[in-house]
Symmetry: C2
Subunit: 310 residues, 2 copies
């Protein structure tokens, strides 16, 4: 009987410890503190990788638009530029030839005015599961290689089915030559086949795809982008650092200012990778607040047409 009593006690302990009241890990999702707990547990130690390029007058831009021009912000009354010396502050004035410069998101209104502009994209384009499919090896052998459905199925054989609602970025390592001006004049580039875009959207129901070059494919009619825009799909272009994020398991933050009626939006994409990932920076690892004093000061460089450190 003592044997039975011990067993009963053990049994009772197991039942109680697996019950949600006693186990903090099983705290219900909906309590008010839970997102703060998630932050403490996962996001403080996660590794952050920037997937956006810096925008400057020197980046490659399609010659049909021409480059952006920066200038010091000017006193609207006098026309004189504000300066640290005279006014205690400076600011920047931008003449941006297109809303499609640098790393950006295309809204379908870029080609199809009956579909949403960038400011009409829902707020739920904010944080998503990130899938990275690499065609870098194939592009190394053929600079005009385009992602095929077989490449997607190959990824799924290793990693499981692509989650619905996820963001799928295609790694080609094209961005490693950024910001070479020659990139804007390329006719051969790593692309995504129309059949692959259709598979990702119609079969896998992803939120959107993205790629490193400034175009979706190298066809004369830009058939991939045309299909996306005329069917209500957004896309991300000119992505960076896809070689520094895992093929699965990361999240991506999507952030772009909302210019009214915009057809594209200058965008920030940041990957949140697991804390044991080899690339990226963790919170508190850098001087975040206060930000550190730099060795050199920012000065307006008239030749470069922007502020640089000297």
């Amino acid at each position: 009987m003592r044997y039975i009593k011990v067993l009963l006690l053990l049994f009772l302990t197991m039942v109680l410890s697996s019950c949600s009241i006693l186990s903090p890990k099983a705290t219900p999702v909906n309590n008010e503190g839970s997102l703060w707990q998630v932050y403490d547990q996962y996001f403080k130690t996660a590794k952050y990788v920037d997937l956006s390029h810096v925008i400057s007058p020197e980046i490659p831009v399609w010659e049909g638009f021409g480059p952006p021009v920066f200038g010091p912000a000017m006193n609207a009354q006098t026309g004189n530029p504000y300066s640290y010396k005279e006014n205690g502050f400076e600011s920047t004035r931008y003449m941006l030839s297109s809303d499609q410069l640098g790393t950006h998101i295309d809204a379908p209104a870029h080609w199809a005015p009956e579909y949403p502009a960038t400011d009409e994209i829902p707020v739920t384009y904010a944080i998503r599961q990130l899938v990275v499919i690499s065609i870098a090896d194939k592009v190394h052998r053929n600079p005009n290689y385009h992602l095929r459905v077989e490449d997607i199925l190959e990824w799924e054989k290793l990693n499981g089915v692509i989650p619905a609602g996820s963001v799928v970025f295609i790694r080609s390592d094209w961005s490693k030559s950024w910001p070479s001006p020659a990139l804007a004049r390329q006719t051969l580039l790593p692309g995504v086949r129309l059949e692959a875009l259709k598979f990702l959207h119609l079969e896998r129901k992803i939120l959107m795809h993205g790629h490193e070059p400034m175009d979706t494919d190298s066809t004369l009619s830009l058939e991939g982008e045309s299909w996306l825009m005329h069917n209500g799909y957004a896309q991300a272009e000119a992505l960076a650092n896809l070689d520094q994020v895992p093929e699965k398991g990361a999240l991506v933050i999507i952030g772009f200012p909302k210019f009214q009626g915009g057809t594209g939006a200058y965008a920030r994409f940041i990957a949140i990778c697991p804390s044991d990932w080899k690339h990226g920076a963790s919170i508190n690892q850098l001087n975040e607040s206060p930000l550190p004093k730099m060795d050199k000061i920012l000065i307006w460089d008239f030749q470069k047409g922007m502020r640089i450190r000297k």
Copy 2:
């Protein structure tokens, strides 16, 4: 004996089901799939609230800068605007008088060239715990009310100590009059006292604070902004919808494109609120992909100087 066997079997089942191999809920934090699990469990059902205004030629802007001007993007060779009809696509050209328009983040280089510009802010400014302190009631009685240390301590009495590294946004409901042009000419506005900024940064070690107006305070020297910028602290300005997020328990996503040497950056702030929160939209609740066809098409309005739906 049959009783003992049944008990033993039950016991074995409990032990096995609580072991990490069989229970997906007990998967260790650091396994590759864990951020995806966090997404499935918390972020799919969370409520997303947009804290950024739309930027247009009609928003209030400090008269020292003057308003932004939008135009259709033009063929750099011919000078003709691209049109859906002629070219199959459109794009937008921006003449932006300042990098401080609409909802934005100030880098300390705005006032202090020895500190980081917007493109030098670390990538870990990405997702944070969000604290919202409301002075809306006091501002209702006194439009020039400025947040005091007592207001912060009052918040902490109810909600606990403000977490280090968090983002603290001050709700005043000032933004409810946005985009009235009169907002740019106000001399009385809800602000943040210098002592409160010092308390938040030096005592509570927050990442940054943000507010609804376009200035931190209504002093002639802008003493609050001056202290922040000359001590390496960023800030968020012209925030929206702070009345639609909880005082604690939400996260905030921070996204801004990186213009080189920028003193401010057009920014997107999105609050992620608990799934039982009364405001905001959840993933899959809206038509996200494909985006829905709109009732009216986007047309360039020459009088308004932007694309609108007609």
